[in-house]
C-alpha cells in the first residue's frame, strides 16, 4: 500500500480565481525517492504543501499511511508533524534571523517531543551533516547558504520523520555546493530509510536523486513513471519538450 496518496485534489489560494491544483492524483510508495518536476506555475511547490498538510485542499483527499490527512491533522496534529518534515528552497529565509542556530535546530524537538535537547544531541546532528558543533552559537547570517541548508536538513531530520519533502533544496545554492548538499541528502536518506519527495525544476538533480518522476504542468499531472521512462522515453509532448530543453541547456561532455 502506498504511503502517501492523493485523490482528485483541487486547490486554489484564497482570493484567487484560478485553481492552482487541478484534479491531481498521485501515490508515493514507502522508502522511495520521488521527484516532482515542473516549470513555474506548475503547482509543484503547492502540491507538497498539500501532501504535508501545510495547506488544505478544497476538494479531494490526501491519505497518509492509511489515514485521512484532515482527520489526522485534527486528531493528533503533533503526530502528523512528526511524520513528515519540510526543507525549503532558500536557507536564509528558513531561519529566524534573531534566533541562534542552537535554538533553531532544537525547535522541532521542543515543539513536537516537548523536551529540550542537550548540547551533545545538537552537536551530534551538526556533525552528522558535516558541520562543526561550534557553529551552534552563531546566527544564521554568519553562515553560508550551503552551511545553512545543512542545518536545515539536520533540523528536519532531528525528530526522525518518515517522509522528507524538499522544495527546491539546492536551487538557491552555488553550483559547487549543490552537489555536496544533495549527496548529504542521499546519505541521510539511505541511512535513515526515508521516503523522499523532491520538488525541483532541474532534471539533472531529479535524474540523480529519484527513482520515479511526476511531471506537472499548470496544476495537473502530465506524466509519471520511473526516472528512466521519463528521461529516456518520455511519452507526453510536454515532457518530451521539457527533457529536450533541459538537455540543450545542460552540460554535455563527450567522454
Amino acid at each position: 500500500m502506498a504511503l502517501i496518496t492523493a485523490s482528485n485534489l483541487n486547490f486554489r489560494y484564497p482570493l484567487s480565481t484560478s485553481w492552482t491544483i487541478n484534479d491531481v492524483s498521485l501515490s508515493i510508495e514507502a522508502g522511495t525517492s520521488v521527484g516532482i518536476v515542473g516549470e513555474s506555475g506548475s503547482g509543484k511547490s503547492t502540491i507538497i504543501r498539500l501532501l504535508s498538510g501545510l495547506l488544505t485542499a478544497q476538494e479531494g483527499e490526501v491519505t497518509i499511511d492509511g489515514r485521512n490527512l484532515n482527520e489526522w491533522s485534527k486528531e493528533s496534529p503533533r503526530e502528523l508533524r512528526r511524520f513528515g518534515q519540510l526543507v525549503f528552497q532558500s536557507p536564509r529565509r528558513s531561519f529566524d534571523p534573531r534566533m541562534r542556530l542552537a535554538r533553531a535546530l532544537s525547535e522541532p524537538i521542543r515543539a513536537l517531543e516537548k523536551r529540550i535537547p542537550n548540547a551533545d544531541e545538537l552537536g551530534s546532528w551538526m556533525t552528522r551533516v558535516g558541520l562543526s558543533p561550534s557553529l551552534l552559537g552563531r546566527y544564521p547570517h554568519q553562515l553560508s547558504g550551503g552551511q545553512l541548508q545543512r542545518v536545515s536538513l539536520a533540523r528536519a531530520m532531528s525528530i526522525g520523520p518518515k517522509v522528507l519533502y524538499a522544495d527546491e533544496p539546492t536551487s538557491s545554492l552555488d553550483v559547487s555546493v549543490q552537489a555536496q548538499v544533495l549527496n548529504l541528502l542521499m546519505e541521510l536518506r539511505t541511512d535513515l530509510g526515508l521516503t523522499l519527495v523532491l520538488v525541483t525544476h532541474d532534471l539533472a538533480v531529479v535524474g540523480r536523486m529519484c527513482e520515479r518522476i511526476i511531471v506537472m504542468r499548470e496544476g495537473r499531472v502530465v506524466e509519471e513513471g520511473t526516472t528512466g521512462d521519463i528521461l529516456i522515453n518520455p511519452k507526453h509532448e510536454y515532457t518530451v519538450g521539457l527533457v529536450e530543453a533541459a538537455k540543450a541547456v545542460s552540460l554535455k561532455l563527450t567522454k
Binding site: V175, A179, T227, I232, L253
Partner: protein, 273 residues
C-alpha cells in the same frame, strides 16, 4: 575588437579582480564562467564603466581602438547602447514598469540616431519580429508586467540590438527563466550573433548554458582567469583544477547508461527500468 590588459579592480586597497589579458574578436562568442563572487559581473560592468564609484580601476580596456578605462562619461554614454549593449539577469527589474514596451525598445534608437518617430516605430516592430516576439504591433503598446518572463527578456534583447552593437554582453540572461524558455533565448542569441556578426560575452555560472552559446570559454575564480580556451577543449580536457571541479559540479542529464549505473548502486529496489 575588445582587449583587456593588466587590468585590476580594487576597493579600499583590496583587489577584487585581476586580469592579465582577455580578448574578444569581432563576431566571437566568448563565455565567462564562474561562481558568485568570482568577479565575472564586475569585469563586464567595468567594460561599460558601470562600476560603483568606490571601486578603483587600473589597467586598460581597449574597444575598437579606443581606451575605455578613464574615459569621460559622455564618451562612454555614446558607446553604451550603440556599440556595446548589455542584457541583465532579471528582465522584470531591468524594464521600466511604467513605460510601454514600444517606447522602451525605441529609446536607444532615439538616443543614438536621428531617425524620425515613425521611422523608429517601424524599426522597433522589425526588431521585435527579429527576436521572435509574437504580435509585435499589439505588444508595442503593452506594459512589461503584461508579458511573460521569456517575452520580457526578448524585449531586453531587442533593446540591446537596436543599434546593431558590435558587442553584446549578456549577464546571466537566462538564469531566472524556465528551462524551455531558456532554450529559446539561447537559440535567439546564437542566431542574432551569427546573423549580425555581433560578438557576445556570455556570463554565467551554468556551464551547460555557456556551452550552448560560446566558441571560447574563460573560467574565473576569485577575481582571476583560471583557464581560457575553445569550448570543447575546456570542457573535455580541462587543465586547471578549478575547472575540473566546476565541471564536476555542473551535472548533466543522465543518459541510459548512467541511469543504469545509478540505479544499480544508489537505489536498492527491485524495480526494473
Amino acid at each position: 575588437m575588445l582587449e583587456i590588459k593588466n587590468f585590476r579592480i580594487s576597493i579600499a586597497g583590496k583587489t577584487l579582480v585581476k586580469i592579465n589579458h582577455l580578448a574578444a574578436e569581432p563576431g566571437e562568442r566568448l563565455g565567462l564562467v564562474g561562481e558568485s563572487g568570482s568577479g565575472k559581473t564586475l569585469t563586464v560592468l567595468s567594460i561599460l564603466g558601470l562600476l560603483p564609484s568606490m571601486m578603483d580601476v587600473e589597467g586598460s580596456i581597449i574597444f575598437d581602438g579606443k581606451e575605455l578605462v578613464g574615459s569621460p562619461e559622455n564618451v562612454l554614454a555614446k558607446i553604451r547602447g550603440r556599440d556595446i549593449a548589455m542584457v541583465f539577469q532579471d528582465p522584470s527589474r531591468s524594464l521600466n514598469p511604467t513605460m510601454k514596451i514600444g517606447r522602451q525598445v525605441g529609446e536607444t534608437l532615439h538616443l543614438h540616431t536621428d531617425l524620425s518617430k515613425s521611422a523608429i516605430k517601424q524599426k522597433v516592430i522589425e526588431l521585435m519580429k527579429s527576436v521572435q516576439l509574437p504580435d509585435p504591433e499589439k505588444l508595442y503598446t503593452r506594459y512589461p508586467h503584461e508579458l511573460s518572463g521569456g517575452q520580457q527578456q526578448r524585449v531586453m534583447i531587442a533593446m540591446a540590438i537596436a543599434c546593431k552593437p558590435k558587442l553584446l554582453i549578456a549577464d546571466e540572461p537566462t538564469t531566472a527563466l524556465d528551462v524551455t524558455v531558456q532554450q529559446g533565448i539561447l537559440k535567439l542569441i546564437l542566431q542574432l550573433s551569427k546573423e549580425n556578426d555581433m560578438a557576445v560575452i556570455f556570463v554565467s555560472h551554468n556551464l551547460g548554458v555557456v556551452q550552448a552559446v560560446s566558441e571560447r570559454i574563460a573560467v574565473m575564480n576569485s577575481g582571476e582567469i583560471v583557464e581560457i580556451g575553445p569550448t570543447s577543449t575546456i570542457l573535455d580536457s580541462p587543465s586547471a583544477t578549478y575547472t575540473k571541479e566546476l565541471i564536476g559540479a555542473n551535472p548533466s542529464i543522465p543518459d541510459a547508461q548512467e541511469l543504469n549505473r545509478l540505479l544499480g548502486t544508489r537505489f536498492p529496489t527491485d524495480r526494473g527500468d
